[in-house]
């Protein structure tokens, strides 16, 4: 598949001197859902803002489906949609008018059937004649998504789409995003909810201090960086970890009724069988075993807290 978004050596230094982006290189394939993860102030929004034309880059280039965002801005922007993080709406306008306006602004002829479909998909049809100021925060967020979809973009940016949104709406949005992907739209979302990336994304990029420190298939990332936890439910409680188990450094959990051992799935020797052998040799019986994969969140935390250079 071809890259719908190509970012090359992109950097941004604000007039204040703040360096928001180092030198970013990124390719996003057509049709995928790409999650950009990173703590607040990492540069996620700056990156998106440059691609969409809201912020000027200091250096580097960006292409959307082969169109340079500066010299070919019309073509690039016509196929790009953006749902920004902040709720920016025209308070006094009616929902349907503001969505129609967006379609026109992006150079598309009026299409009432399409607008109706978008509003219905986002459960906004009943509110179509309401003034935006009368809507709740979650509904305003839906309006912003409807505006971004009104011109049928092929590349959609969702900047923190579910920040401050209730669980139900979040599920709804995930449904919408899946539907869009099914129709061939490429989606780039930023989030600091790992759950979201884990649930939705095909690939994950981690950005910190303006540097893209890692881009990986989500499953590969979890496999590659994943740590697993082995929990052993003991037949008889222990008062302390026996000294003979020190090489594995297990932790005593459940008031002595269990042992927890963390191992690295990447290493050749996970240490599980010697540990279990040792337990047998010590006469420590166990009732149950289970292993748990670490979540993306744990991977993420370990990445952004790792000193530079060691991360990937």
């Amino acid at each position: 598949m071809a890259a719908i978004l190509s970012v090359r050596a992109l950097s941004k230094q604000y007039a204040s001197g703040h360096k928001a982006l180092g030198s970013i290189d990124l390719d996003v394939e057509e049709g995928e859902i790409f999650a950009l993860l990173g703590p607040n102030g990492a540069g996620k929004t700056t990156l998106i803002s440059i691609v969409c034309g809201i912020v000027n880059a200091s250096a580097g280039s960006v292409r959307v489906a082969g169109h340079d965002i500066v010299t070919g801005y019309r073509a690039a922007r016509a196929m790009t949609g953006l749902v920004p993080q902040e709720l920016h709406t025209d308070s006094f306008e009616r929902v349907i008018d503001t969505v129609r306006f967006s379609r026109g602004l992006f150079g598309r002829p009026r299409d009432d059937a399409l607008i109706e479909k978008i509003l219905r998909d986002l459960s906004l049809w009943d509110k179509r004649t309401a003034r935006i100021q009368e809507l709740s925060g979650g509904m305003k967020r839906r309006v912003m998504i409807a505006k971004a979809l009104s011109h049928e973009p092929r590349l959609l940016f969702l900047d923190e789409p579910t920040a401050g949104v209730d669980v139900e709406l979040r599920r709804d949005m995930w449904e919408v995003v899946r539907g869009l992907r099914a129709s061939g739209v490429t989606i780039i979302l930023t989030t600091h909810y790992i759950e979201e990336a884990e649930e939705m994304a095909d690939r994950v990029g981690v950005i910190n201090h303006g540097e893209l420190i890692l881009v990986e298939e989500k499953t590969a990332l979890m496999k590659k960086l994943g740590r697993k936890t082995l929990r052993i439910a003991l037949a008889e409680p222990l008062d302390a970890v026996p000294p003979d188990l020190a090489p594995w450094a297990p932790a005593l959990i459940d008031e002595g009724h269990g042992l927890e051992y963390v191992f690295d799935t990447r290493s050749e020797e996970t240490g599980i069988s010697p540990l279990l052998g040792k337990l047998g040799a010590l006469g420590i019986g166990y009732k149950d075993l289970n292993t748990q994969e670490s979540s993306l969140e744990e991977i993420f935390v370990s990445l952004v807290h790792a000193p530079k250079g060691q991360a990937a």
Binding site: A15, N56, R74, A75, A76, H88, F101, S102, G104, G107
Partner: protein, 256 residues
């Protein structure tokens, strides 16, 4: 999508007109009422004691100046507000991310604001007709001049809206610069009526040339020649357009 974005221009233009339509009542009644008040005060109370100015009854003489006064302030206010509001509310993100060129953006915003100014100018003219007979020597030139004034001052307002960082800044230029210049620019008198020294000072006020030119379209004569007036309004148009394109090119106060 390689040509121009006509749908985009139309969307901005209609959006802005729709915004004006929401406040249509105040938007049109206020200038009508203000004009009536001016006529009661200047036209009837003072005008009855005034002789003719350049052979034109005083009541009729002030009509072009009155129209200009309202059109200056309305043009600046509407155009500056039109672009300042999205900046203030944050909805400007959509405009910046849309496939519209600077020229298309300006046509949309300034075109809508200028349309409203034209309507207001014509409403004032119609209101004036209720009080005095206003001869119009060059009707086509009058409409043309009105349109030039509307576009130029809307461009100026658009610049102001991009420049302003607060509502206060938005108001300070119209109130402290444009309003005094209009009053001192011969809106209610002929500069021939001033002492020679003040006359010379007044000639440095660009508004004089605009009001004079507009007055020429009504009465066939003005304080300065119509060619000079046309030159002045064209110069203003060019200066404003240059500033706007510089603003868009550099992203001045629009983009980081």
């Amino acid at each position: 999508m390689s040509g121009s974005n006509v749908h985009g221009i139309k969307a901005i233009y209609l959006f802005e007109l729709h915004r004006f339509a929401r406040t249509l009542l105040t938007g049109l009644f206020v200038p009508a009422i203000t004009t009536s008040l001016y006529f009661i005060v200047f036209g009837s109370a003072i005008g009855s004691r005034m002789t003719e100015v350049d052979g034109v009854p005083y009541g009729a003489f002030i009509v072009p100046g009155l129209i200009m006064l309202s059109m200056f302030t309305e043009s600046i206010f509407n155009a500056s507000f039109g672009i300042y509001m999205p900046k203030w509310s944050g909805t400007i993100y959509e405009l910046l991310s849309a496939p519209v060129s600077p020229l298309e953006t300006v046509i949309g915003y300034v075109g809508a604001a200028a349309t409203k100014s034209m309507i207001i100018g014509l409403v004032i003219l119609a209101t004036a007709h209720l009080f005095v007979a206003v001869p119009i020597a060059h009707p086509v030139a009058m409409i043309g001049f009105m349109a030039l004034i509307a576009v130029s001052f809307c461009l100026f307002g658009f610049i102001l809206g991009i420049w302003a960082k607060s509502f206060e800044q938005l108001q300070v230029i119209p109130m402290l610069v444009v309003m005094p210049m209009t009053f001192l620019g011969g809106a209610f008198y002929s500069i021939d009526m001033l002492p020679p020294a003040w006359r010379t000072v007044t000639l440095f006020n660009p508004i004089v040339y605009l009001i004079s030119g507009f007055r020429w379209t009504f009465f066939g004569k003005g304080d300065v020649s119509i060619t000079v007036s046309m030159g002045a309004i064209t110069a203003m148009l060019v200066v404003c357009l240059t500033i706007i394109f510089w603003m868009f090119r550099t992203g001045y106060r629009l983009k980081n």
